[in-house]
Every structure is written in C-alpha cells, then in structure tokens.
C-alpha cells in the first residue's frame, strides 16, 4: 500500500488506530511531533485511500453558538485491508484449500485439526494463568485470537470472525471449523460449565459460548 510508504504518514496511521477515540488533527499532529497543516494533509490522504474514517463533531462540552466549527475527527476504517511486503496472497491459497477440503470431503479432518488447535490455545492459557476462572480464561484466549468476545446476558458472543471472508464464501466448512476450535478451547481450559454452539447473528461470528444445559456452574 503505497499510501503508507511515507514514514510520517505511517506514524500518524498507527497513532490513530491505537486510540479508543476519534482523533482530531491537533491531537494527531502533537502525537507525531509535526505541524497541524502537515498532519491534516497526511490524514486526508489516509482517509481518501479508505484507511481512515472521517466524522465531524464538536469537542465534548462545547455546543451552541460560539462553539465554533465542528472538528474533523479520524478513526480506523472498518474496511478490511490485507497488507504484506513483499506481496503474498494467503487469502487465495486459503480459498483453494477450502475448496479442496469440500470436494474431497475433508470437513471432519478440518474439524479435528481445529479442535486440537483450540485445545492448544486453551492449555497455554491455563498454564499462563492457573488461577483464572474458566470464563475469564476462555474470554481472554478468544480475545487473543481476534474473536472480540462480549457478554450478552449469560451468553458470550463473538463480535469478530477472524476468518470472515473465508466464512462468507464457505460457511459450512469455516463455521464448523470455528465451532470445533472453540469447543477444543473450552475443553482444554477446563470450562466444563460452558458449551459452544452455532447461533449466527448479523455482524458476529456464528459461534456463541453459553452455560451448558447439564451444569449449574
């Protein structure tokens, strides 16, 4: 992505993406140690390339007449970008392998491998944190793998599918793989009171973790 070739622009991009709030030109300029005008130029280039989203808002606590023009604020764009230097195309390889798994009927093997991977992650999390509760351990491990877990009542939902593009094109294979991975993780983390199942919701991963029916823990 040539738009990130400029080291100053890359620094600004990193800074904006690392914040939990929308970033003004003043803040970004201060963080990068550059002039406000220069920062504005770079930020707008990043927005034009689709890497940053733009909103206009007045700073908190200022409203009504005399509050001034709304500030232009920047945040990380939701669009998915894949960047590798030199160019690599793992997505195309994953697509082909997914199709191979389907035409050869390797779905059960995919699920076995995913279950083992999940179990590995679960054991590693348990070793690193022997005293944590099973639910905390599962949430932390899922978060570390990019699932972005959140609680919806007693149910843990996953805001992000780490395999989204692939899951969209091969749902039975990839959702089955995801479910097996999470099941392996639950078992190895000692989360006997939790169970994983498929419950697709718009925007979320199709897997949810909920208290298992035959347990009061």
């Amino acid at each position: 992505m040539a738009v990130l070739d400029d080291p100053v622009r890359l620094r600004l991009y990193d800074y904006v993406c690392g914040q939990d709030h929308e970033v003004s030109r003043d803040e970004a300029a201060g963080a990068a140690g550059i002039q406000r005008g220069t920062a504005a130029l770079h930020l707008d280039k990043l927005a034009a390339a689709g890497l940053l989203s733009v909103t206009f808002r007045r700073p908190a606590g200022r409203s009504g007449p005399g509050a001034g023009r709304p500030a232009k604020l920047y945040s990380r764009s939701d669009a998915e970008h894949q960047l590798s230097v030199p160019p690599r195309n793992y997505r195309a390889a994953a697509e082909m392998l997914a199709e191979v798994a389907e035409v050869t009927g390797a779905e059960p093997a995919v699920q076995r491998v995913a279950r083992r991977r999940g179990a590995q992650a679960g054991r590693a999390a348990r070793t690193a944190n022997p005293s944590a509760s099973a639910a905390d351990l599962v949430a932390a491990s899922l978060a570390a793998q990019g699932y972005q877990p959140y609680l919806d009542g007693p149910v843990m939902r996953l805001r992000n599918c780490p395999f989204h593009v692939l899951a969209d094109r091969h749902p039975p294979l990839i959702c089955g793989m995801n479910l097996a991975l999470v099941e392996g993780l639950l078992a190895a983390a000692g989360a006997g009171g939790l169970a994983a199942r498929l419950d697709p919701q718009p925007g979320d991963c199709c897997v949810v973790v909920c208290p298992s029916k035959n347990s009061d823990s």
Binding site: E102, V103, G105, P172, D199, P200, P202, C206
Partner: protein
C-alpha cells in the same frame, strides 16, 4: 440485486447419501429434517419447496438414482434464501455435519437461478440449470452463492407488467 417485486430465485441442491435414510448414520439428519423444513416454511421470503407424495418433504423423490436426494425451493430474494441457508443456526448446524450424511462431490451440488414471479420450476428445469453450472461455471442463467448474478433485465421487465408476454 434481487428486486423482490419482479423476480423470484429458485434453488436446487443434491446430495449423495452416505447410507440409507433409515440407517443409524442418517438418524440425526432424518430427525432434524422436519424441524428445519418448518423453519424454512416460516422464514421471511420463503415461497415454495418441493414435496413428494406424502407432502412433508422431498426425500422419497429420487429422480437421478436411489442414492441421490434432491431439495428444491423458491424464495423472493437471494438475501432471504442466503439468510435461511447460512444464517439460521439449526440449518447451519446440519450443513456443518453434512459429511456424516452425504458424500463429497467433485462438482457443483447446488445451483441458483432467477425465475418469473409466478413460475414454479420442475426437476427437469432444475437439473438442466445444474448441468449449465457444471459445464460453464457460475453465470447469469445458473449460478452459486459465491458468484451470484443479478436478475436478467428481460425477465425483470417481463414479470413486471405486460401480462401477454408473461407466459
């Protein structure tokens, strides 16, 4: 894509059974079938599905040999069809387990195509669409979820007004 007022979308999928329908290996599939069909019937955008003589499902229809199950349905839009197939938990769970029930096929096992709104396709039409897909790959006349096509303009126009040209 999939203007709900002018066209419907039809779907055929086929599966080669791993074992007879009344065998223990197929028990979970058979047990879930009624419920999954009921979910489809009540799903937003559902129009019609193929049924055999009993009228419950299409499992006794074996137009291409004793091992090949067929499933065919009509929906108001690609989005409604996709929502049922891939975003319903119970149906997705059956798809996830499909290798327990059906053998892998090294060619397309599902085809989608646009139809005029009043039309209900038969199995000959459906299998000719599957043949087109297998021969030419995804195209405007027969396509897949992965490579969908918009409804053809002629079909959309025909279904929209002019009753004399509708059939």
């Amino acid at each position: 894509m999939g203007d709900v007022t002018s066209c419907h979308i039809a779907q055929l999928n086929v599966g080669v059974l791993q074992a007879p329908l009344d065998s223990p290996q197929l028990a979970d599939f058979v047990a879930a079938l009624g419920q999954v069909n009921a979910i489809a019937d009540a799903a937003p955008g559902f129009v019609w599905r193929l049924r055999d003589g009993d009228g419950t499902d299409a499992t006794s229809l074996r137009p291409r040999g004793p091992d090949l199950l067929v499933n065919m349905s009509v929906w108001v839009s690609l989005e409604s069809l996709r929502a049922f197939v891939y975003r319903n938990g119970q149906h997705l769970d059956m798809l996830r387990r499909r290798r327990e029930f059906f053998r892998p096929l090294d060619e397309a096992h599902q085809v989608l195509w646009w139809i005029p709104r009043e039309h209900i396709p038969d199995l000959d039409e459906a299998f000719s669409k599957l043949d087109v897909l297998r021969r030419d790959g995804s195209g405007p006349d027969a396509f897949t979820f992965r490579e969908p096509y918009p409804p053809p303009v002629t079909l959309a126009a025909k279904a929209q007004g002019d009753p004399s040209s509708a059939r």
